[in-house]
Symmetry: C2
Subunit: 161 residues, 2 copies
């Protein structure tokens, strides 16, 4: 939720910033873009009282009913303890339920309620619109290329460690 640059800051005597050095710093540019996305997404999800993490969890649970928390944490690439509060929040709002798994009483099978599925429908539509807004000016092929590159980065990590 950053404010726009003020005119006063734009017109100074100092060298225009550093495209030269930072151009090669891919992580820096991805961070900046991610901040923009995260910021706009937060605004988009606010009317639904969801955040990126609660939204992602809800979508994954609706699409994969019966999923366990450890599987969901793995899918979301977050630690189990951090997922607990997310699931707590969705359960408290009665968007999902924790069902005990009969064959393994340690685990929960996560399922969306009707209210959860309804919020899912509305919020997915809003997020789709949000992404179309931010990605206008980026054609379909480019988006596919970006997604492939993001997966390649994840893969490099898996292979390297």
């Amino acid at each position: 939720m950053k404010k726009a640059v003020t005119p006063a800051q734009e017109s100074t005597e100092v060298t225009k910033v550093s495209d030269a050095t930072m151009r090669g710093f891919v992580g820096y540019q991805i961070k900046r873009a991610f901040n923009v996305i995260q910021d706009d997404l937060a605004k988009t999800l606010k009317p639904f009282e969801l955040r990126m993490l609660t939204y992602t969890a809800l979508v994954l649970i609706v699409d994969n009913p019966g999923m366990r928390q450890s599987q969901l944490a793995d899918a979301m690439d977050i630690e189990r303890p951090n997922l607990v509060v997310i699931i707590d929040e969705l359960e408290r709002r009665e968007l999902i339920v924790r069902d005990r798994v009969p064959t393994d009483r340690r685990a929960y099978a996560l399922k969306a309620t009707l209210a959860g599925r309804r919020l899912y429908e509305k919020s997915v539509a809003a997020v789709t619109a949000h992404e179309e807004r931010l990605l206008r000016g980026v054609d379909k092929d480019t988006i596919a290329t970006v997604l492939a590159a993001m997966k390649a980065i994840e893969k490099a990590k898996r292979d390297g460690s």
Copy 2:
């Protein structure tokens, strides 16, 4: 710094997770890749006692001597108050100095010290190697496409607000 998936988690009866729904969620994939980058970068910078933010600030100051804090915050897309602690840390380590601007005694001109420039040289080399490692498997053209897409997302934000 996530651990690898255990074999036990990989072989379950639950549907393999949801590429179908999440594929369209570009922000989700960028977030995952950014987490990987951030994580690997943190390890890369640890020997230099730098983090992504302190590294970025150091690089920008070395390349743009005389920059003011408000300009740097703007370049880094963070709020002024959050930059203060970053600059404090770099100054405490004597990597940069805050010089009063004679023509505007409210502002500081930020400049790197010799030690700062030396750390810059070493850390930039390490970060370059880190990015080559993570981006092996992504060709030059694709990287250029990704960078252009990231800038387009930033632009969409600027135009939209």
